[in-house]
Symmetry: C2
Subunit: 192 residues, 2 copies
């Protein structure tokens, strides 16, 4: 039954979550993940601590949610523009990801860090952030396979790991991926 059951009890004020998330995102971008305390989010947004912990399990969980609306836009599949080669599509995707990272890399790296000590959060981060981006690259490569733009002998999961790893690795070592890296990645993936 898809009844619209209205839960008993006081309903959540939708403005409360919006307030907390936007305050969090703003503070994070101004000061970075570690520098922003839950206490400062509380005092800036004017809510009680328990209101935050009623909705999110941890600080990382809140921050992931706060940047999710924005980040998911960058994980939208590129137009299947058939004038563009798969190579161009991959390049375009990487450039968009790198531009996004230029703004939020500190926060993303902090979330990857948090995922190392919280397996539940790791799963959540994987599902919401990692998997969608993996799928886009996988789709591009599969199309390239079927269009004969890369050899059918090559292993797609390995290439996907290569591509993502190739910018995660410098990122986590404090190096911003740039246009040159994107060019080098596509050149290596699509070389004859």
């Amino acid at each position: 039954m898809a009844r619209e059951m209205k839960a008993a009890g006081r309903p959540r004020d939708p403005k409360t979550a919006e307030n907390i998330k936007s305050t969090t995102l703003r503070l994070m971008r101004e000061q970075g993940y570690a520098a922003v305390s839950i206490a400062s989010i509380i005092s800036e947004s004017g809510v009680a601590k328990q209101t935050i912990y009623n909705r999110w399990k941890t600080k990382a969980d809140l921050v992931l949610d706060a940047i999710f609306e924005e980040t998911e836009r960058y994980a939208s599949a590129p137009d299947h523009d058939f004038n563009k080669s798969c190579r161009e599509q991959l390049y375009q995707f990487l450039i968009e990801v790198f531009e996004h990272l230029e703004r939020d890399s500190r926060i993303i790296c902090a979330l990857i860090a948090s995922a190392q000590e919280d397996k539940l959060f790791q799963k959540s981060f994987r599902e919401r952030f990692v998997n969608p981006r993996e799928k886009i690259v996988e789709d591009i490569l599969r199309r390239a396979h079927s269009l004969g733009q890369i050899s059918t002998e090559r292993d797609i999961p390995t290439l996907v790991a290569f591509i993502h790893g190739a910018f995660w690795y410098p990122l986590l070592n404090g190096i911003q991926p740039d246009r040159k890296l994107a060019q080098n990645i596509v050149a290596e993936i699509f070389r004859h």
Copy 2:
């Protein structure tokens, strides 16, 4: 002047640092990075808190030092056995790294996590852990270049990032790199 100047003041007891490091490594392997508190290291090793913070800046700094003696052995260059192809050398290196990771991946991932919120530690981790491993792979690929085992057109820094990224990426997403991954990596790098 390379005078053997003996510093004034009470000399450090070399047993103290050894005690702290071995206790730390043992506890870390038993319980993992997050589960081991500085307090537990103190009570197990019997030293004072300040004794630890006199020598190491942070918990991560201590842990890096504690596993360094062991990990650096796995970053030793492989024998330049000219019976072995570069492909085999790379495969051997990856297998050794993966076996090492099987034991200490939780700790290594926690150190990578710590590096995200402490740029000084990031630099230290890069110099002691990342760079030596990069160099080994780079050397193998350069030799492969000059021996004609891979095309001279291919960009070595990009390949190095591919190789390391290809196991860092699954590792940080909670997936243990295995033999199959090592095979796929060398197959992709050394394909004709």
